[in-house]
């Protein structure tokens, strides 16, 4: 808070706080609200039932279920998408840079409610067309859909459980790094093998001029 004894505090000037309203007593809450939040936006974007069905169908096409892995729609991928699409009242500045209004318009216009009921082959063909489109907006929309699906699906505990159960190389994987870490799961160095390693260094007084490759010498100044 502004000091009552500015001279003693060495204050030269005191304009309104940067990045906050003049009426804010402390701008830090406003700064926090402007930054990317862990877990995405809250409140999240709301989709219509049709839009949610389309997005579920998109995710299920990008990562088909099977082999012990659930479908994205079964693990509520739509919740994740709702939190990581930027709401209309927020500045569009965070990955995957999908803004609510445009994203919804693309879901409705480029996919449409019929996408949800289409065959898997037709859905795949539609998404492939977007992926390979020369239209930058369409291609970018596909990348957003894929990123949201990949990041969302593999963040779900049900999917982590499937990885542990189905994949020998994923047996130890438990998703969020903390609080458990992987103590006791990481193999140590074998005892007493260090004297076998080769290696050497050039001592300070042993440094001498090397021959510089001719074209490097021609390319750069050499002192």
């Amino acid at each position: 808070m502004p000091s009552t004894n500015r001279e003693a505090d060495g204050i030269e000037s005191a304009p309104e706080p940067f990045g906050a309203k003049a009426t804010d007593l402390d701008p830090r809450e406003a700064w926090r609200n402007e930054k990317a939040q862990l877990g995405g936006f809250n409140p999240p974007v709301r989709f219509t039932d049709d839009q949610a069905a389309v997005l579920n169908a998109v995710a299920d096409t990008i990562i088909p279920p099977g082999g012990g892995f659930p479908a994205p729609s079964e693990v509520f991928i739509i919740d994740f998408i709702s939190r990581y699409v930027t709401p209309a009242d927020k500045e569009l500045k965070y990955f995957p840079l999908a803004g609510e209004a445009k994203f919804k318009k693309q879901v409705d216009g480029l996919l449409g409610a019929s996408f949800a009921d289409a065959s898997n082959d037709d859905r795949t063909a539609t998404l492939r067309r977007l992926e390979e489109s020369d239209d930058e907006d369409e291609a970018a929309f596909f990348v957003q859909l894929r990123s949201l699906t990949y990041y969302g699906y593999y963040a779900r505990p049900e999917v982590t459980a499937a990885i542990r159960k189905e994949l020998p190389a994923g047996r130890e994987y438990h998703g969020p790094p903390q609080p458990y870490g992987y103590l006791g799961k990481v193999e140590p160095w074998p005892e007493g093998r260090w004297d076998k390693n080769p290696g050497g260094y050039i001592a300070t007084d042993a440094v001498t001029r090397i021959e510089i490759p001719a074209d490097i010498k021609a390319e750069y100044e050499v002192s």
Binding site: D9, F18, K35, A36, A169, W189, I212
Partner: protein
């Protein structure tokens, strides 16, 4: 000693013995050592404290946060505490108590003796010899290592012995580290378990590493050597006056001396001036030249310490390329401390027959989580979608091993930091602008490094590899060389004790001060250099305060090792 007592505040808040700008490795090392000596130190940090719950480690969505609020690049995070950086660059840094040490690998290798003698070795581009040797710096590496807390193994034949640097047991390699070591063994190449600023045994109230693998996102346990948990708390206990959200607008100079610095309290918007007998600028290899350039004033029309036009030039990042390798058997790259479990310095030294000068190092890293794997891991190899996705994911996740090479890049005068004439930070101060091109020598070196890593992958029977090729711009983990230490006022910005040639009581020993980059992560060297400069101030405070001109290297009052030994005891 005539300096003031610690912790005196109140009416004396606007003057101090030593004013430190920036709380990363350099600023924290100065703060610790100088408050140990009883000096009154004020530290200005434009960021705030990061609390453990603010890290992404506890969240299911931790992988995506790497692209958002926990991105390495301030231009992606876009927080008001950071400043934007324009130009052809991907700068990795963060403004917070602890600086970028709260968001790094904490790999802790040292320079080798030859790294201080690149002028003698070849003198290509802007290379000059450092005015100091490895031996001059070694005692300070030891002190800083002891104070920060380092894990590793003594005895690497590729380094001079360092018996006085305490080491906790090394981080565990896991299947990943053991595998790559085996490949290097097959080829008869050097490798060694890495020194890491990651504690494997609790100390200073910090929890030991529990091998979660998310080191690059910081560490809510305090196992990673963030200065916010290692040196800053010790300095605070000594009475350090730490001011957060304090964004410095300029350093003021008068009569050939720095008189202090002006800063904005970002919370109140008030501008303050703190006068000081000595000023330490420790704002990193981009922030430090930015502030010198922003401090243009009467008598210093081109910025402080820039009469020779060198401030901001000779920027180095290290040349980088990443190689992802996959194997049929489990590698489990998602677990284990990142840091670097091991490194190979087989190709550290110059060999003219390769067609370039300088060398490359290999470092082994980890894989992060399943979502990161699906999105292409370190080389952007995004997994296929649709019918083939499941099979591809199942074959690759947990089978991945990352090796990256970095090479010593040449200090090139044109690779530089200037002020952007248009873009501003949230306080209206000019953003730094970076021009950086990877030149021919460094491209060749990258290609060579990728080939050698691929040799190891092939020796191990990798099922697949993918690499980035030379990264241009390189990932800006290491910000070096823009206000370098040197031999005279014509070739550098500071003398051999980190005093700027232009203002004897302004010191720089952060990444900007590094004359060459070696082929190692720079933090331990920044810590050693800063500890050494702090010891110089401690031993010569009055002399420095009374100097009207920065002494030539040969004429400086110097450092007494006897005093150093006494203080260590």
């Amino acid at each position: 000693m005539t300096f003031r007592t610690n912790g005196s505040n109140g009416a004396d808040r606007n003057s101090t013995d030593v004013l430190i700008i920036g709380s990363g490795m350099s600023g924290a090392a100065f703060a610790k050592r100088l408050t140990d000596a009883g000096m009154k130190c004020t530290l200005l940090e434009q960021g705030d404290w990061i609390r453990p719950v603010e890290y992404d480690h506890f969240h299911d969505e931790f992988d995506i946060e790497r692209n958002r609020g926990w991105a390495y690049d301030p231009n992606v995070r876009q927080g008001p505490e950071d400043f934007p950086v324009t130009g052809f660059t991907t700068p990795y840094m963060i403004n917070a108590v602890g600086g970028s040490t709260i968001h790094y690998a904490a790999h802790w290798p040292r320079y080798k003796p030859i790294d201080f003698r690149k002028g003698t070795e070849h003198g290509v581009a802007g290379n000059i010899d450092w005015p100091i040797s490895y031996e001059d710096l070694a005692p300070y590496y030891d002190i800083n290592d002891a104070e920060v807390g380092i894990s590793g193994v003594h005895g690497d034949p590729a380094y001079p012995p360092r018996p006085n640097a305490p080491r906790q047991k090394p981080i565990n390699p896991g299947k990943l580290g053991l595998k790559f070591a085996k490949g290097l063994d097959q080829l008869g190449w050097h490798w060694w378990p890495s020194d890491n600023g990651i504690i494997t045994e609790g100390r200073d109230g910090r929890l030991p590493c529990n091998e979660c693998g998310n080191c690059l996102q910081g560490c809510p346990r305090g196992a990673l050597a963030g200065m916010d948990v290692s040196l800053i708390p010790k300095a605070l206990a000594n009475g350090l006056d730490l001011r957060t959200n304090a964004r410095v607008t300029r350093i003021v100079a008068k009569g050939g001396k720095a008189t202090g610095a002006e800063y904005i309290d970002r919370v109140t918007g008030e501008t303050h001036f703190v006068s000081a007998n000595i000023v330490i600028l420790a704002a990193n290899g981009i922030g430090t030249p930015r502030l010198l350039l922003m401090s243009a004033q009467e008598g210093h029309p081109d910025g402080l310490c820039n009469a020779n036009g060198l401030v901001g030039t000779h920027l180095m990042h290290h040349s980088f390329a990443f190689v992802d390798c996959w194997f049929d058997d489990p590698v489990e790259g998602y677990l284990g401390a990142f840091g670097a479990p091991l490194y190979s310095h087989e190709f550290y030294h110059s060999d003219s027959s390769r067609g370039f000068v300088n060398g490359v190092a290999m470092q082994v890293g980890r894989s992060f989580g399943s979502a990161y794997a699906a999105n292409g891991t370190h080389t952007g190899a995004v997994m296929p979608w649709g019918a083939n996705h499941r099979e591809h994911f199942n074959e690759h996740f947990g089978h991945h091993l990352l090796v990256f090479m970095f090479g010593e890049d040449l200090p090139i005068k044109e690779n530089r930091v200037t002020l952007d004439p248009e873009v501003k930070d949230s306080s209206g101060l000019p953003a730094p602008h970076v021009e950086f091109n990877v030149s021919e020598n460094d491209r060749r070196l990258c290609e060579f490094g990728v080939e050698r890593i691929t040799d190891v992958a092939n020796a191990l029977g990798a099922s697949e590899t993918n690499h980035t090729g030379v990264l241009s711009p390189p990932p800006g983990w290491h910000l070096m060389g823009t206000a370098r230490m040197g031999n005279n006022p014509e070739d550098s910005t500071t003398n051999m004790y980190s005093q700027t040639w232009e203002l004897p009581n302004l010191f720089i020993a952060d990444g900007a001060a590094l004359t060459t980059g070696g082929i190692v992560n720079p933090t331990s060297t920044i810590g050693a250099l800063s500890t050494r400069a702090a010891e110089y101030i401690k031993q010569n405070y009055q002399n420095i305060v009374e100097q009207s001109k920065t002494p030539a290297n040969a004429d400086a009052p110097g450092l007494s090792n006897r005093e150093l030994e006494l203080s260590a005891a």
